[in-house]
């Protein structure tokens, strides 16, 4: 093994995370049975709420690592959610629905890619356009496909949950993991894969170079434009998948503007996670946990109900505190700067 590749600081961090998970599991094991069930529900809800955030956040990471700001995730997620539901509705196959969502997500992001990479447009303007376009088009198509306003017809063939009957009787693991969506598991897999792709493959190196120092990449004989474009398309694919999780993984219908700002929260998760795969995973899980805390408090601590709105606000306040006071997130250097060959000055 090449020891120089190992960042000792991150090794300690990994150890700390693993240790806290083990300690948490042991602590949960000593709790009364009812409380274990509640903890299990909290873990399950955290995973459900985090999945769309992490998937879209990882997508945003691919795009921004390549130097293209992609604030259009919200619009792409909506298109993914719509396509997933529509394909699953007509083809009666959820897997085709997911595939369609990934493809349409990628296609939608490629509009952003062409505008930003080929025509060197302003990333924020183009991204805002993608949000508006995605929101409007998905709403319009909702009415065209199902002749309904607001919410489409329920999809009966949704992505089947994985069942682990062996866990069902355990007070904590039962509610937490006995019924779990394959997309949730895929979220963990894709995080690992993203880490490998980004830091251990030539493509990842090129993508990061395109975001940090595109002229070096260019002088190495690699097309900056194509590298960046591929990064944007991957971001669309993942955001589309995240949207499809909402419509055919967790829910069972497409509803107008069903992402409710999750695309923006996933951007925050990406920044909070410092543009690294495991950082995005951790930040997404953290946000998912805070969102499910909001539900948890409402259901189990009615005494705190008057503060429900305050609690709903907490994630955003915590992010501001964390980013402003504790740690600076460092974006890729050449982000949002169009690359021009032999630029003067």
């Amino acid at each position: 093994m090449n020891w120089r590749l190992i960042n000792w600081q991150s090794q300690y961090r990994t150890l700390a995370v693993l240790a806290s998970i083990v300690i948490g599991l042991i602590a949960i094991n000593f709790m009364p049975v009812e409380q274990q069930a509640i903890a299990g529900w909290l873990v399950a809800t955290t995973l459900q709420m985090a999945t769309p955030l992490v998937l879209a956040g990882l997508g945003g990471m691919y795009s921004e690592r390549g130097g293209i700001v992609n604030i259009g995730l919200e619009g792409i997620m909506l298109m993914g959610a719509f396509t997933g539901a529509a394909v699953a509705y007509y083809a009666k196959d959820p897997w085709l629905g997911l595939l369609g969502a990934v493809m349409v997500g990628g296609l939608f992001a490629s509009i952003h890619g062409v505008a930003c990479v080929k025509y060197k447009g302003n990333h924020i303007v183009s991204g805002t356009g993608i949000i508006l376009f995605g929101t409007g088009l998905s709403t319009l198509l909702l009415e065209l496909v199902w002749h309904q306003k607001g919410q489409g017809e329920p999809v009966t063939n949704t992505v089947p949950d994985l069942m682990f009957p062996a866990l069902l009787d355990h007070p904590f693991l039962g509610p937490a993991f006995s019924v779990i969506s394959p997309i949730v598991l895929f979220m963990f897999i894709i995080t690992g894969v993203s880490w490998f792709v980004l830091f251990r493959t030539p493509f990842g190196l090129r993508l990061r170079a395109a975001g940090e120092d595109p002229s070096t990449l260019d002088s190495a004989g690699v097309s900056v434009q194509w590298t960046r474009f591929i990064g944007v398309v991957i971001s669309g694919c993942l955001a589309g998948l995240g949207g499809a999780y909402l419509s055919i993984g967790f829910g069972s219908a497409f509803a107008k503007e069903m992402t409710s700002g999750r695309g923006f929260i996933s951007l925050a998760a990406m920044i909070f996670g410092n543009w690294t795969p495991f950082g995005v995973l951790a930040a997404g899980l953290f946000f998912g946990f805070l969102i499910s805390m909001n539900y948890f408090i409402q259901i189990y601590f009615p005494i705190l109900l008057p503060f429900a709105n305050f609690i709903a606000m907490l994630p955003y306040v915590l992010v501001i505190i964390a980013l402003g006071l504790i740690r600076k997130s460092v974006p890729p250097k050449a982000i949002a700067i169009p690359y021009e060959k032999e630029k003067k000055g």
């Binding site: 809800t45 306003k149 607001g150 967790f250 829910g251 069972s252 503007e257 409710s260």
Partner: protein
């Protein structure tokens, strides 16, 4: 080849003629139909409850009275004032009546009603002082009475003696639903009566949005997992998430789980395929808030008959006595036990004759 000037003139003529044609086709300015304008609530059409109910009333008025209506679907509270003013000052039509749907249009409506004193307005779910604003009719519902009836059904049906309520926002209007619901449940089920029991066996939560179905679904999941077996949602389109939740959770649950619909008859949404509803349904009943009747009534009174009340007669109340609220019975999808119906009808009679007063705000702390 004609000269450039001729070509330009031709193009201009074509555009003008086409524009005028489109204008006539789209807006029919020569028609003398009476017109009504509607500004919907932010939940928007397609919630299968509140806004769709208002639209059903309008559609019925179109068939019965031959009126026409235009509508706007705002997406934010700030849109209300702009859209109301647009209709009030419309240069294309004079609207006989502008209907504002939803409590949160209060401020916008007051401003616009002040600006256009000759224009008649109506608002659903909010009290606007008819002495100050003699051109605004308020259509008000006693939602707590209808909710008490579905609560009574829930209290008799529950097997775990735990029930839940999901609201859109933590506001007095929505808490009217929740308070009536638990009051009715407590009337028929001693396990849900009294402050101690309510705190132990009744969960309420709020989605914080009228549109976020995912949030409604997650909250309902949590309530079913916490032991509640009947969840009543009054959260507009966000409440539709509860139907997803009950369908998913009922598969693995050891006790039968139910949800309760709101505003419109929603029992069909609880079936496996709502397009062609067949029994069984997982929606026990629906609390009916007949906004369609309210919209229809005000159109009939003013637009058709030309009666505009004065003073406190401008407040239209819809309650159990005049059948403005109620509960859904759909024998095709689900037959409730006759003893439940008898008990609920007896409870209803007591509310109507005033023996029982249903609380309209949270009465336990």
């Amino acid at each position: 080849m004609a000269s450039k000037g001729t070509m330009a003139a031709l193009v201009i003529i074509i555009i003008v003629v086409a524009g005028a044609g489109a204008y006539v086709v789209m807006f029919n300015p020569f028609g003398t139909q009476t017109r009504v304008a509607v500004v919907f609530a932010t939940g928007g059409l397609g919630d299968k409850s509140f806004n769709d109910g208002c639209k059903a009333g309008l559609d019925l008025a179109v068939t019965d009275f031959g009126i026409a209506y235009d509508y706007a679907e705002p997406t934010a509270i700030t849109d209300y004032e702009v859209m109301l003013r647009e209709f009030a000052n419309s240069s294309i039509y004079t609207y006989d009546l502008i209907i504002a749907i939803g409590f949160d249009q209060e401020v916008g409506l007051q401003i616009v009603a002040n600006e256009s004193p000759t224009q008649k307005f109506a608002i659903i779910d909010m009290f606007i002082d008819p002495i100050v604003y003699p051109n605004v009719a308020s259509l008000l519902f006693d939602e707590h009475e209808g909710s008490a009836l579905v609560g009574a059904i829930a209290g008799l049906t529950t097997t775990t003696d735990k029930i839940g309520f999901i609201g859109g926002l933590d506001i007095p209007l929505i808490n009217k639903f929740g308070a009536g619901y638990i009051f009715g449940a407590g009337y028929t089920n001693p396990q849900l009566n009294g402050t101690v029991n309510i705190l132990a066996n009744f969960t309420r939560a709020y989605t914080g949005s009228w549109t976020d179905t995912t949030s409604g679904q997650t909250l309902a999941n949590g309530m079913y997992d916490a032991g509640a077996d009947i969840v009543f949602a009054a959260a507009g389109r966000a409440g539709l998430g509860v139907f997803d939740s009950v369908k998913a959770k009922n598969v693995t649950s050891s006790v039968p789980l139910w949800c309760v619909g709101v505003d419109m008859p929603q029992m069909y949404v609880g079936t496996a395929d709502p397009e062609t509803p067949v029994a069984p349904t997982l929606c026990l009943t629906s609390m009916l808030k007949k906004v369609d009747v309210a919209v229809y009534t005000i159109i009939e009174d003013w637009v058709v008959d030309g009666t505009w009340n004065e003073g406190y007669d401008l407040l239209y109340a819809f309650n159990l006595a005049n059948n403005g609220v109620g509960y859904e019975v759909n024998e095709d999808l689900l037959t409730l036990d006759p003893s439940i119906i008898t008990a609920v009808e007896a409870f209803k009679a007591l509310i109507i004759d005033g023996t029982i007063t249903v609380p309209d705000a949270i009465y336990w702390t």
